[in-house]
C-alpha cells in the first residue's frame, strides 16, 4: 500500500518511540544494579560491581536462586512430557472432547493468574500437602504445559503425516516410528517449548505467592519480600537483574531455535 510520506515518517517515529518505551525501564534496572549509591536517586552517583559480590554472598539470594532453578527445571520436565503428549493426541487422533481439551490447556493463561493461585492453594490445603518446592513445581507446570503444547501442536500441524505412514508401511512399529520420524520432526519445537517454560517459571510470582510455603522462596519471591527494606535496595536491584537475565536469555534462545519467529508467540 502506498502511503503518503508524512504518514510513513510518523509510523517510523512511533515505532522507534514504542521500542524506546519498552526497553528504557529494562535498561534502567541494569544500570541501577551497578549504582554506587544505596538509594535510587537519579542521576546515579557512580558505577560499582560491589553489589554483585554482596548479592552472591547473600545466603537468602543464593537459596532463592537455587530454588528458582530447581522449580524451573521441575516445571519444564513436567510440562515437556504432558504438553507433548496432549499435542500428539490432539493433532494425530480424532476423539470426543478434542476441542474442549485444547481449550482447557489454554485456560490457565486466559484466566487471571490470581485465580489459578488461590485455587491451587485451596486444593493443596484441602489435601494436606506440605507447601514447598513440589507445590511450586505443580503450580508452574499448570501454565508451562501450554507453551510446550502450543509449540508442538504448531510443528505437528506443519509436518505431514505421510512420513509416519510410510514408516509404518515399511514395517516400523509405532515406537520406532516415533523415535525415527516424529521425534526428530518435533525436536526443535520441544527445545523451544522447554526454554520458554523455563523462562515462564523462573520469573513467575503471581501463582508462586500462593503455592510456596513460608520456608521456600523463589528469587522473585525474595524480591517481593525485600523491595521495601531500604538496606536491601542494592541487593534487590541485582536480584532483579538475575531474574531478568535468566528469563530473557532462554526466550532469546527459543526464538533462535525455531526458524519461525511466530512459534514463540503466545498463540
Amino acid at each position: 500500500m502506498l502511503l503518503p510520506r508524512g504518514i510513513r515518517i510518523a509510523l517510523r517515529v512511533a515505532t522507534g518511540l514504542t521500542m524506546a518505551f519498552i526497553y528504557v525501564p529494562i535498561a534502567l534496572i541494569l544500570l541501577y544494579s551497578f549504582n554506587a549509591s544505596r538509594v535510587a536517586a537519579w542521576p546515579i552517583s557512580g558505577l560499582t560491581l560491589d553489589w554483585y559480590g554482596k548479592a552472591l554472598a547473600n545466603a537468602g539470594i543464593r537459596d532463592a536462586l537455587v530454588t528458582s532453578v530447581e522449580a524451573a527445571i521441575g516445571a519444564t520436565i513436567v510440562s515437556l512430557v504432558l504438553g507433548s503428549l496432549i499435542a500428539i493426541a490432539v493433532q494425530r487422533y480424532a476423539f470426543f472432547g478434542r476441542q474442549t481439551l485444547s481449550f482447557v490447556v489454554i485456560l490457565p493463561l486466559a484466566l487471571p493468574g490470581i485465580v489459578t493461585g488461590i485455587a491451587l492453594n485451596t486444593a493443596f490445603r484441602a489435601l494436606g500437602l506440605d507447601f514447598g518446592l513440589i507445590t511450586i513445581v505443580i503450580g508452574h507446570a499448570t501454565f508451562c504445559v501450554v507453551v510446550v503444547f502450543n509449540n508442538v501442536v504448531a510443528r505437528l500441524r506443519r509436518t505431514s503425516r505421510t512420513a509416519e505412514e510410510a514408516s509404518m508401511d515399511l514395517g516400523a512399529d509405532i515406537f520406532t516410528t516415533f523415535r525415527r520420524i516424529t521425534f526428530p520432526a518435533i525436536r526443535s519445537a520441544l527445545l523451544a517449548g522447554a526454554l520458554l517454560a523455563f523462562a515462564l517459571s523462573f520469573d513467575e510470582i503471581i501463582v508462586t505467592n500462593f503455592t510456596s510455603g513460608a520456608g521456600t522462596q523463589t528469587l522473585p519471591l525474595w524480591i517481593f519480600t525485600n523491595y521495601q527494606r531500604p538496606n536491601n535496595l542494592p541487593l534487590v536491584n541485582v536480584a532483579a537483574v538475575f531474574v531478568l537475565l535468566l528469563s530473557i536469555i532462554p526466550v532469546y534462545l527459543a526464538s533462535r531455535v525455531t526458524s519461525d519467529p511466530a512459534a514463540t508467540g503466545r498463540t
Binding site: T18, Y32, W42, P112, I206, Y227, S247, S255, R266
Partner: protein, 285 residues
Amino acid sequence: MRSIAAALYRRPRAQLALLLAAPLGWLVVAYLGSLALFFITSFWSVDSFSGKLITTPTLDNYAAVLSAPVYRTIAVRTLVMAALVTITTIVVAFPIAFYMARMASARTRGILVVSILLPLWSGYLVKVYAWRLILSQGGVLNSVLAPLGLSGPGYSDVAVWLVESYLWLPYMIIPIYAGLERIPTSLLEASSDLGGRSWITLRRVILPLALPAVVAGSIFTFSLTLGDYITPTLVSNTKFIGNVVYDFMGIAGNQPFAAAYAMVPVSIMLVYLLIARRLGAFEAL
C-alpha cells in the same frame, strides 16, 4: 516391546488412552479439580472464633460482595482500569504493528518481532519493580520532568495505569501485527484502485479486518489487568480486586470470601471470552 507395539498398532483407542492418561489425570486433578474446589469454597464460611472453615453452604459471601459499597467500588475501579489499559495498548500498539506488518523489511520485521517477544515472556516482576524506581520521589521521571516544572504521577492510580499498559503492550502488539500481516495486499490495492485514499482504506478495509486480532489481544490485556495484585502493591496505595483477594487469602485468613470475590474477575472473563468468540477472536489467536 515388539508384541506391545503390535498390539497397540491394531488399537488406536489404546494408543490414545496411553497418550492421554497422564495429561488428563494432571489437568483434571491438579487444575480443574482445584478450580472446582475453589468454586465450592466460595459457598463456605469461616468461624469467627476458631478461624476454622465451616462447610455448610451459604450465600453470605456473595451477598457481602454484592451489597458492601467498598467491594463494589473496588470492582468497578478494577474494571475501569482494565478497560483503560486495553484502550491505551490498542492505541499504542497499532502504529508499531502496522509498521512491522506492512512497511518493515523482512529483516527489520524479524528483529522487531523478537524484540517484542523477549519482554512479553520475561521479567514481569522486574519490570514492575523498575517502574517503582522510575516513579519514586527522587527517581528518573521526576528528575527528567523537574526542569520543565512538571512532576511524575508518583505512586498512584495513574502510575498503575501507566505500568499495566507498559506490561501488557507486547500482548497487544503481537496479535495485531499477525492480524495486519494476514490481510491480502490485493484488498488494499483494490481499495486504492477504487479511489479509496489511505484514510478510507484504513477505516473501511484494514480496521474491520484487524478487529478480531484486536479483540484477541484485548483478552490478554483485560484478563492480566483484572488479576494483577503486584503492580498496585508496588506503585500505588489503592486496592484493586487482586489486592482484596490476596489480603483475604493471607492476612485476613478468609478463603471463602476471597474465592467469592475472585469470582468477579472470573465471571467478567467468561462473559468476555464468549463475546470475543462471537467476534471471531479465537481464530485470530
